[in-house]
Subunit: 408 residues, 2 copies
């Protein structure tokens, strides 16, 4: 028998299952592996011998899983210990992989997971084991270096831009000075918040200000900027990354817990959005403000996913399967942009060491001089990635999603 296993790690996205199904589908076509297993709940599940056979899925079931959001194979936050310190866990893992006659291990995840692939492939080399580790990228954060963008980003960007657009219409119905603050994910990088710039009416961007973790947030300047904007318009629309920091390098979300008080002296907890809101209310520039946190919907709203992202994520899975046949251990698949107009992309392989523990920041040259918005370059970059309405099946007025356990 010659088998392979797929496992997922970290936070879900709308399109992880598309990548997993790309692997399953390509093997159905090429018939290289006898069985394609899923490790349920990532490495943790494999260590518990919780493997299920995905080769039994029909093309129709593959299609249904491809259009189901979040991690259909389950996920984990489990990090393998360093093999140089203690390789007991590694030995256990290899023992189980051998037992299931695994030739290739596909790991779907972000920087951390690619680091795991890197470590495992090194360990294999040292020990002379015959198991290949291949990485498949996944993160809405879009923070993996070398590749043009990550599977998952386009769908999150599309959801954020759509939500910004709709909330802009909602936020501007009253003839009263007010501020609307929308908080996007992005602890280290501003790719997600920046995608709010895609939201436009009559080609005019609706977000007045966009704040990214890459730029120091200056409270006083912020109040001045908002105040100036409110001199010429009733409503100010602000988008903010959860990870913005002040000049001391401190997360505003942490300050939020410590110092934010409303005008009655009540402590105000919550995310950065609420903190920003309180700054504005306390400063007196507005008496009405609302903060909305997009939270988990931005990583699972398949009904609003980008079909381009879904297709690319599927192709990345297919490419990983193909690469695994003759490719080298410790490599992963990335996406390269071939042309902008018409938009064309292709997959390529790269060593996981180039991605492991490395972060691709939002480019400074795509941020305006004042540091409170992004330039048209950011829009042009993201535009092709959000194109295409997701081809989900609808049943009784709602998306038809499936649970893996119901298919097996």
């Amino acid at each position: 028998m010659r088998n392979c296993v797929i496992a997922q790690s970290g936070g879900p996205t709308s399109v992880i299952n598309a990548s997993a199904m790309g692997v399953v589908s390509k093997n159905k076509e090429l018939k290289y592996y006898d069985k394609v297993y899923a490790g349920i709940n990532g490495v943790e599940g494999i260590l518990n011998k919780n493997l299920v056979d995905l080769s039994v899925l029909s093309y129709e079931e593959i299609e249904n899983m491809k259009y189901t959001p979040a991690a259909g194979l389950g996920s984990c936050r489990y990090k393998l210990k360093d093999a140089t310190e203690n390789d007991q866990e590694y030995q256990k893992l290899f023992q189980i992989l051998k037992e299931f006659e695994i030739e290739t291990f596909f790991y779907i995840g972000g920087n951390d997971s690619m680091d795991t692939v890197h470590k495992l492939s090194n360990y294999v080399k040292e020990k002379g084991e015959d198991i290949k580790f291949i990485g498949i990228p996944k993160t809405i954060d879009n923070d993996l270096p070398v590749m043009d963008h990550t599977p998952g980003f386009g769908s999150a960007a599309k959801y954020i831009a759509t939500t910004v657009l709709e909330n802009y219409f909602d936020a501007t119905v009253y003839a009263k000075k007010s501020a609307f603050i929308l908080e996007a994910m992005g602890r280290d990088t501003g790719w997600l918040a920046a995608s709010a710039a895609l939201a436009r009416v009559n080609n005019k961007q609706v977000a007045d200000f966009i704040y990214l973790p890459e730029i120091i947030f200056d409270e006083e300047q912020f109040i001045k900027d908002v105040s100036k904007k409110l001199a010429t318009q009733n409503n100010v629309f602000i988008v903010v990354s959860e990870g913005i920091k002040n000049e001391d390098g401190k997360f505003l979300s942490e300050l939020s817990a410590e110092t934010s008080k409303d005008i009655f002296g009540h402590v105000q907890l919550g995310g950065v959005g609420n903190y920003i809101k309180q700054i504005l209310l306390n400063s007196g520039v507005v008496s009405k403000a609302r903060a909305v946190e997009l939270s988990t919907s931005q990583r699972c709203a398949m009904h609003c996913a980008s079909q381009t992202d879904i297709d690319e994520s599927f192709k990345v899975g297919e490419a990983a399967l193909e690469y695994s046949i003759d490719g080298e251990n410790g490599y992963m698949i990335g996406i390269k942009r071939v042309s902008d107009s018409p938009y064309v992309s292709e997959t390529f392989s790269l060593h996981t060491s180039k991605v492991a523990n490395s972060i691709k920041y939002f480019p400074r040259e795509w941020v305006n001089k004042e540091g409170n918005n992004v330039t048209i370059d950011a829009v042009n970059y993201a535009l092709p990635l959000i194109s295409g309405t997701s081809k989900i099946k609808i049943e009784n007025g709602l998306p038809k999603y499936v649970k893996l356990e119901d298919l097996l």
Copy 2:
């Protein structure tokens, strides 16, 4: 000249513009009024003579406005004073309406606005003025009596059910005991939260518990219920109305500000969702919990609106225009359900006094015995109202919405 004016009041929905455009479109066909004005920002705008002519809109522009969310004509929270106390404002209003040769005033809104229509029509009767006031219902809350449902509810219900479904997939990826809490709007009634019951996988409802304002929330029982559920599954999914109250009749959102503390003694503010989350964490039944507040998106997410709701809202506007020609002062249009399968509805007229200051509560017989979920009757009621994917235009991967000022 024989003109009419449309004004909107209160919180936006995805389909208010559909109703307004129904009025404009029907008049284009019947040519009864010379001009169809919009009062910008409701009564407040009319009092400032801020009226614009909507008759100039082409059918294509009407279609674009119909598929734009929120209150395209602007809105206000302005409440007219009681005429018996002081009718100066009424006199000013009538003077302006006469100046613009208004025969009919269409007011789009909820209970409060229908009360305004009622009062104005009474005033007219007393003073022998010749202006007709006609109500057009609008509220995502679905709390207007007499009619089967309100324009706006179906779209909000569809968005909530879709979001519940997708977040359920997101919330269940880890093999770790956890709770996910989703907070829906609904200060007085539980219609919105109850629509979460529509979210199903393999015909099994994904929300384990749904809490409505109509049922007293018992903290101890809640902890017991969740604890019991966690004995047989890893993740518990909870949906809660913002308006739930305890046995003293106190809103939990108010208690939240007063007493909620985390295990370190920090005060935790925020909505009911966060309060519930803190209850669970403090009780120790879970160590991991997340609360998500749907906030304004549930009333403006046109990309996920119900086409049935859009069509009905448009028809309500058309019916209001037609009714105004020979109909009586102080009436409004409602929606009646003619049959469930196939779903057929029609419009009818009713006096605004039947709706003004009255609330349609979620029926007790559609709540389970334990008071912590809804029955299949709630699902059957709401199912036809969420059907049909909204036929929005897409441009550059995002919905194409328009601003009224760009059309005039």
